[in-house]
């Protein structure tokens, strides 16, 4: 069965309007009434309501959109933006992680390396993709491919979309922490341009493990957070019911990430989310990649690496005072 068009909680007004519209149309058809005027009125109302809702999204609502089951995943974009994507498998050590994939492709006349976190849509694919939560071998494969990119002078484009690195026995036994840490260190001095794009969920260390990049682009309804709002609420407020409060407090949306100097560009989405017009979303991504890749490719390696270092070196705020001052204030 096809999924209804408006499934999220805050889309309820739209859902109701849509139902009225459907009822009206079928009644009209059944009894051969002319309902075109009424239909038009409801359709207008739907458009108004869409604008009302989607132009005033709260952080928590944007998190819902970032996790929308119909939201395009990395492979939905890759095929339309790049030519001849050839997936390369395996970390050469343990296995091939299907939640974190990679391979070579062409972006126009430029050969590139693509690294991508990939979610699944159906049950079977979700199991294969482990719901987009990579194991250590995913991060190790990503590093292998990024170092290959360095060797052959290919810029790297990372599609980030994960709730988190997988938290499980195998993941810990094979040291997912070390795999992520190594990527952070090695990406910091990889001698080739690195471009990152958050297309859905930027879940903590699991996202950062492929996101130490020269430029970070964030789609309008994507988020990037140190912890999912639910987890934050459970720990700090001791209840998941505070997820919305936590989502507000964490400043995890695209615009907030720009303000905090984490994101370099917000990539536009169609009204209501990328899934409502995939072609438009794809086009926006392609333009952003073209712009930033062009700028990065123009830099010499020393400048590129120094800028990358300083970008992360300056992240975060603190003050400097004496211990005495601090204690006196306390």
């Amino acid at each position: 069965m096809e999924q209804p068009e408006f499934i999220l909680e805050f889309e309820k007004p739209l859902r109701n309007l849509k139902r009225r519209l459907d009822e009206l149309q079928s009644t009209g058809q059944e009894h051969h009434f002319d309902v075109s005027k009424e239909v038009e009125a409801i359709e207008r109302r739907i458009e108004e309501t869409k604008r009302e809702i989607y132009q005033n999204l709260t952080p928590w609502q944007r998190v819902q959109l970032a996790r929308h089951p119909k939201r395009p995943f990395a492979l939905d974009y890759i095929g339309h933006i790049f030519r001849d994507f050839q997936e390369l498998h395996g970390d050469r050590t343990f296995g091939d992680d299907q939640a974190l994939i990679g391979g070579t492709a062409w972006f126009g006349h430029q050969p590139v390396m693509i690294i991508a976190q990939q979610k699944g849509r159906e049950v079977k694919e979700n199991l294969k993709r482990n719901f987009g939560m990579p194991h250590p071998e995913g991060y190790r494969k990503a590093l292998r491919l990024m170092q290959m990119a360095e060797k052959f002078n290919l810029p790297v484009i990372c599609f980030i979309d994960t709730k988190a690195a997988y938290a499980g026995v195998g993941s810990e036994e094979r040291h997912v922490s070390e795999a992520i840490a190594r990527n952070l260190r090695e990406m910091a001095h990889l001698k080739t341009p690195l471009l990152g794009l958050i297309i859905g969920e930027g879940g903590s260390g699991g996202a950062l493990g492929i996101a130490v990049v020269d430029r970070l682009l964030v789609q309008q309804h994507a988020y990037y957070s140190v912890i999912p709002p639910e987890g934050c609420a459970a720990i700090l407020w001791r209840s998941r019911e505070y997820s919305e409060t936590a989502a507000n407090a964490l400043r995890l949306g695209a615009r907030e990430l720009m303000e905090q100097g984490i994101a370099d560009q917000v990539v536009d989405e169609p009204l209501g989310g990328a899934h409502r017009d995939v072609d438009y979303a794809t086009q926006q991504i392609r333009q952003s990649i073209e712009k930033h890749l062009g700028e990065l490719m123009a830099l010499d390696t020393d400048t590129l690496l120094e800028q990358r270092y300083q970008k992360y070196r300056q992240m975060g705020e603190f003050t400097e005072r004496t211990v005495q001052q601090a204690v006196a204030q306390a």
Partner: protein, 288 residues
């Protein structure tokens, strides 16, 4: 006999002077259950002599246990967290910070400086779990990054003794970015060929494990320390998997290949010195 007809149990009032005795005069060892004179425990670097149980050690005492007397110089003691997100959960972050500062006398969850270890100069950062679980604030990240850069500038080895609950959630994405910032500094240290010794102590978890703590040329761990990315409870609840025995403890991780050696607290100083002598090619002075 009348003598034995007295009630077997009598209530004895606690002597008045007991109030003057600190409540923690004795400490119970969680491993063996024995009571140990707290002063003796402190003199023994918080290690229970018989059972070998390692209690957590605060940063000042850790530094004293590692560094040659009179050579320690602390840096960046005044670096303090700021509430850039104006974060309030059940309590404002600002108030929490003041509370930690008052409790520990420290400005943040890490103490950094330089000193000598048997004459070998080092840059040392020691995390202090008492301060907000030594979670990764931007201030902690800055101090650790500076400690690494100090090693780079002065061409000395860098030692980081880790203990951390992970991210400082109240600082949001900035907390996460400290993982990238510290790891980037380590990439430069590594490029310069300078040694980095990472010492993992109980507990080292989350973002700290997924950044500088597991990037050591050498990774040493204290016995029975909890070292993990996701905590055991999270994994158990999330996956319904049975956790193997000793899961995420030092011994388990040694077996699974993450760490080079498990070193007891008393052995730590001489062991680090012997490695630094190898890496820096500085043989011990020949005894006369």
């Amino acid at each position: 006999m009348a003598f034995f007809s007295k009630p077997r149990y009598t209530t004895v009032k606690p002597p008045e002077r007991k109030r003057d005795i600190p409540r923690d005069l004795y400490t119970r060892c969680p491993k063996s259950g024995e009571l140990i004179y707290t002063k003796q425990l402190e003199e023994n670097l918080m290690v229970v002599p018989k059972s070998g149980y390692h209690f957590r050690l605060d940063a000042p005492r850790r530094i004293a246990s590692l560094i040659d007397e009179g050579t320690w110089e602390e840096f960046d003691a005044g670096i303090t967290a700021v509430d850039s997100l104006e974060f309030t959960d059940t309590k404002p972050y600002k108030d929490r910070l003041q509370g930690y500062i008052a409790k520990t006398g420290l400005n943040e969850g890490v103490v950094c400086g330089t000193g000598e270890m048997e004459g070998v100069k080092v840059s040392l950062a020691v995390m202090d779990f008492r301060f907000a679980g030594a979670s990764m604030s931007a201030a902690v990240g800055e101090k650790i990054t500076r400690a690494i850069e100090r090693g780079l500038e002065q061409k000395t080895p860098v030692i980081i003794v880790s203990a951390s609950g992970g991210a400082r959630m109240q600082e949001g994405i900035y907390s996460l970015m400290q993982m990238a910032k510290t790891s980037a500094a380590l990439s430069r240290l590594s490029d310069a060929g300078l040694p980095y010794v990472s010492v993992l102590t109980d507990p080292t978890t989350g973002g700290v494990t997924a950044s500088f703590a597991t990037l050591g040329d050498l990774i040493l761990a204290e016995p029975e320390a909890l070292i993990c990315f996701a905590g055991p409870r999270v994994i158990k609840e999330g996956t319904n998997q049975e956790l193997p025995e000793g899961f995420q403890r030092s011994e388990f991780l040694l077996e699974r290949g993450l760490i080079d050696q498990i070193v007891t607290r008393h052995e730590l100083r001489p062991r680090i010195i012997s490695f630094l002598r190898v890496f820096m090619n500085q043989p011990a002075p020949v005894e006369a």
